[in-house]
């Protein structure tokens, strides 16, 4: 399943990278020539644990920026904060000059900043086509009273359907358009989620681990799609563990560790940065990070870990046979 099984350097097309994105010396929080997002003093704590503490960060426009870091570095939390899915303890941030502080997630999305999720959120019991059509903005038929009169929205709906089919064709999902999204494979769902995000014609696309769980056969096409977004004038910010992929497509890399930005810069330079090697690669340099798709460990409260360890110590003789049949649990 790992995307590393297919070496990325077999990629047929090497596209040109965006350069000269920053102003002045490269350092964490360096100013960008043309930033699309500027964030200051973003802090988020869970109980006593500081998940995110970013002094200053700028995301360059019309470039592909990768957000990397070890498990629990706060990447997804930062994503949640920037997109309005979580509220920071403090801080300000703007998107194309509009302050987003305190703005609910749906309004952020309407401004043109859409995101995908690490655990894919394909709407399983809607068809693939319905999933796509849901992505379109400003639909007249989505208002309650006009929804009862198809004459008011039929024409717009048909246009949306056409656009959806075009995108589906591009993402090679058109044959599945009438299937429930639940019947798609993990990689296809990732594709669908990205295609659905594009239906809203965004200016900034934020992808949370787009490669996680994707079949190697689909990796290249997914990468191409991401590169296409830039060509079409969009800005991409993505979280990824796979170093090869980051090196391959990112124009700029931001490295987080323990909630802070520890380094940033063009991919090749960041990979050489000692702080990055220490914080992220460290002892795991030879570990295939591409297989790290679950990121559970960083989110388990310490007391739970202690408790579990205590129990394990008390009775190490218990066979590890329950791993497969633990009960359903709310998350």
């Amino acid at each position: 399943m790992s995307s590393n099984e297919t070496p990325i350097n077999e990629a047929p097309v090497q596209r040109e990278k965006a350069t000269n994105l920053h102003k002045g010396d490269i350092a964490p929080g360096v100013a960008k020539v043309d930033p699309i997002i500027i964030a200051d003093g973003i802090r988020r704590t869970f109980g006593g644990l500081t998940a995110v503490d970013v002094d200053h960060i700028e995301i360059p426009r019309n470039a592909i920026t990768a957000l990397i870091g070890p498990n629990g570095a706060g990447k997804t939390t930062l994503f949640n904060l920037l997109t309005g899915f979580d509220k920071p303890d403090g801080g300000t941030w703007t998107f194309e000059g509009n302050s987003l502080a305190g703005m609910p997630a749906f309004k952020v999305a309407r401004l043109g900043q859409v995101r995908t999720f690490q655990l894919t959120k394909a709407l399983g019991l809607l068809t693939v086509l319905e999933n796509m059509k849901l992505g379109a903005k400003d639909q007249r038929g989505e208002k309650f009273f006009s929804s009862m009169f198809p004459a008011l929205w039929r024409k717009q709906d048909d246009a949306i359907e056409q656009r959806a089919m075009m995108l589906l064709k591009k993402f090679k999902l058109d044959a599945k358009s009438e299937d429930f999204a639940a019947s798609l494979s993990g990689g296809q769902r990732k594709l669908l989620e990205m295609a659905r995000a594009l239906m809203s014609q965004p200016t900034l696309v934020m992808l949370d681990e787009p490669m996680a769980g994707v079949n190697p056969a689909l990796t290249q096409s997914l990468l191409d799609h991401i590169l296409d977004l830039k060509d079409e004038g969009m800005t991409v910010l993505f979280v990824e563990h796979d170093m090869h992929m980051v090196r391959h497509i990112a124009d700029w890399v931001i490295v987080m560790a323990e909630g802070r930005v520890v380094a940033e810069g063009p991919p090749d330079e960041v990979m050489k940065n000692q702080a990055v090697i220490d914080a992220y690669l460290g002892a795991h340099q030879d570990v295939d990070l591409g297989v790290v798709t679950g990121r559970v460990a960083g989110e388990i409260p310490e007391e739970a870990q202690d408790l579990a360890a205590e129990v394990a110590a008390l009775d190490s003789a218990i066979r590890n046979r329950a791993a497969n049949d633990n009960p359903e649990k709310t998350s």
Binding site: R115, K121, L123, G124, L125, L126, K133, L134, E142
Partner: protein, 327 residues
């Protein structure tokens, strides 16, 4: 044992006011639970608000019957707003507990002696029929055919009930095939995903809550139309019975709630006629007639469990379209 009479009563219950009331409430619940994924365990409160709103406005404020219906509807909308604005941000199972608690609060407020003058406390309300019956255009007398033979008032109640139900079903059918319904179903699947696409999830949930709530209130009104308002009806069990009817027919279907309510009452009526008759004729010697009535409700509980486990999509639901989202 008069088998013909039992069958006649059973068939007659297809068009019973209680059946229509359950069908309306189940349609409302389908909007809440089946389509939007809101785990509303307070449908009994909506029915109570409809029934009491109707009866109180006729009895205390002297409104005509249609004025009472409007008050019931407005009451349900206000309840939806009070309940929904703070609670719709909650996780599914929390919402369930809040709604069931709110429904109990409503019931206890109708039941308490403190407002006896208006609510009739434990006795409930009756004697609000004049305006409704005066509006009856049907001639006096008893007419119909076979098991569907009712008097003029009986027909009038059923005609109004079926009319309201038809409108409700039509509305649900038309909105659920629209882009609005697409958003609603998307919210059921994963509200964060829908939020990320720029939809105001909260507003949609509130609209769905109001819409379904109105149907619930109308169900309560139809339940109260032929006889009286009795606070003992609007207990949490009522909510669960409506859930049983809904899940029987198919939660995320347009006609499922109606089919479910009909089947629920047909089986209930059949058993409530048959079992005591069997007891009396000595075929069930080990139980009394009152025990045989209790047996029906035991069966409801067992049926609910079996349905949810083995056929969660209901009779009319798509096999693939399980309406339960794993949370």
């Amino acid at each position: 044992m008069d088998l013909l009479q039992i069958l006649s009563n059973t068939v007659s219950s297809i068009l019973g006011p209680a059946t229509i009331a359950y069908a309306l409430a189940a349609v409302g619940l389908a909007v809440h639970f089946g389509y939007t994924g809101l785990l509303n365990f307070g449908i009994a409160a909506y029915m109570a608000i409809g029934a009491y709103g109707y009866a109180i406005s006729v009895l205390t404020f002297g409104l005509p019957w249609w004025g009472g219906v409007l008050v019931g509807i407005v009451g349900s909308i206000i309840f939806s707003l009070i309940l929904g604005i703070p609670t719709l941000r909650l996780r599914g199972d929390y919402l369930a507990i809040v709604t069931i608690a709110a429904a109990e609060v409503i019931r206890l407020l109708f039941l308490t002696n403190a407002f006896d003058a208006v609510t009739g406390s434990a006795d409930g309300l009756s004697g609000y029929h004049d305006s409704f019956r005066a509006a009856n255009p049907l001639p006096d007398g008893t007419f119909g055919f076979g098991p569907f033979t009712y008097n003029s008032t009986g027909w009038w109640v059923r005609i109004i009930g079926v009319l309201i139900l038809a409108i409700a079903v039509l509305i649900v059918w038309s909105v659920m095939r629209s882009p609005w319904g697409r958003v609603i179903k998307g919210i059921r699947e994963d509200e964060d995903a829908v939020r990320a696409l720029g939809k105001n999830v909260f507003a949609y949930k509130l609209q769905a809550l109001v819409l379904g709530g109105i149907f619930g209130a109308l169900g309560g009104i139809v339940y109260a139309l032929p006889s009286s308002v009795n606070p003992g009806v609007y207990v949490t069990s009522l909510t669960f019975f409506v859930y049983t009817a809904l899940l029987l027919g198919g939660a995320a279907t347009v006609f499922g709630p109606v089919l479910g309510a009909v089947l629920f009452w047909v089986v209930q009526t059949f058993l409530s006629n048959l079992l005591p008759a069997l007891v009396v004729s000595g075929i069930l010697p080990f139980m009394s007639t009152s025990q045989s009535q209790t047996l029906r409700f035991i069966l409801v509980g067992v049926a609910l469990m079996l349905l949810v486990i083995f056929k969660p999509q209901g009779l009319l639901g798509n096999k693939k379209e399980l309406t339960f989202v794993k949370q």
